[in-house]
């Protein structure tokens, strides 16, 4: 069966520090991958998605970037974190094809001090 792993679960970082959140999927190949951010009490905002290795699409202008160095690995990064980057970050995958639901990781709670 397919599983998705996301880490770390919790992260506290100072303003101006770098960021790297990692997400990996097991049990499938060539998944679509997604990064979402959820502000407190709000819905999910799609940040990035990838339909293949090295293919990254950004949905909103921001201080973050994403990379997909391997088929089942998706990384969310920042060179210098801002206070506004605080939030709950969720990684998700699906098998593509336009018919399948997305399945989510457990999320990372990011606090910027």
């Amino acid at each position: 069966s397919q599983t998705i792993h996301q880490w770390p679960a919790t992260l506290v970082q100072p303003v101006g520090s770098p960021l790297s959140l990692e997400c990996t999927v097991e049990g499938t190949s060539n998944p679509n991958l997604y990064w979402y951010r959820q502000a407190a009490g709000r819905g999910l905002q799609l940040l990035f998605y990838s339909v293949g290795i090295g293919q990254i699409s950004s949905e909103v202008p921001q201080n973050l970037s994403a990379s997909r160095p391997q088929d089942r690995q998706f990384i969310l990064s920042s060179k210098k974190l801002l206070l506004s980057d605080s939030g709950f970050y969720l990684c998700a995958w699906n098998s593509g094809g336009g018919t399948q639901p997305q399945h989510f990781g457990d999320g990372t709670r990011l606090s910027i001090l």
Binding site: G96, T99, G107
Partner: protein
């Protein structure tokens, strides 16, 4: 562009009763999918139910069912025999049928089930 609207920020229901959560969406697409996700306090996002727009029959999953009205662009979720474990945020989501499979979420409804 597609939009998803959940007009009920909060709902409450007594255990064993039935509750309906509303969702409307706006799209010019004819082929798409709709989903309800549940986010309990643990903050995991859990798929509850899905509906293909081309299917007229409403989807059901045990105690969960939907009322899909394509012409009205409405997609409500009915939870029967509510349980304490149903307490969560519920998000309605839209997916256009293309190769990106991007989800557009509503703002969510917080459901509290009381004993």
């Amino acid at each position: 562009a597609q939009t998803v609207t959940q007009s009920q920020p909060e709902m409450s229901v007594q255990e064993a009763e039935t509750v309906t959560l509303s969702c409307t969406y706006d799209t010019s697409e004819n082929n798409y999918y709709l989903f309800w996700y549940k986010q309990p306090p643990s903050r995991q996002m859990i798929l509850v139910i899905r509906q293909e727009a081309y299917k007229q029959q409403n989807a059901t999953e045990n105690r969960f069912s939907v009322n899909f009205q394509k012409a009205a662009k409405s997609f409500s979720l009915k939870i029967s025999d509510s349980q304490l474990g149903d307490t969560a945020m519920y998000f309605c989501a839209f997916m256009k049928h293309d190769n990106t499979d991007k989800l557009i979420f509503g703002t969510g409804t917080r459901l509290q089930v009381f004993p």
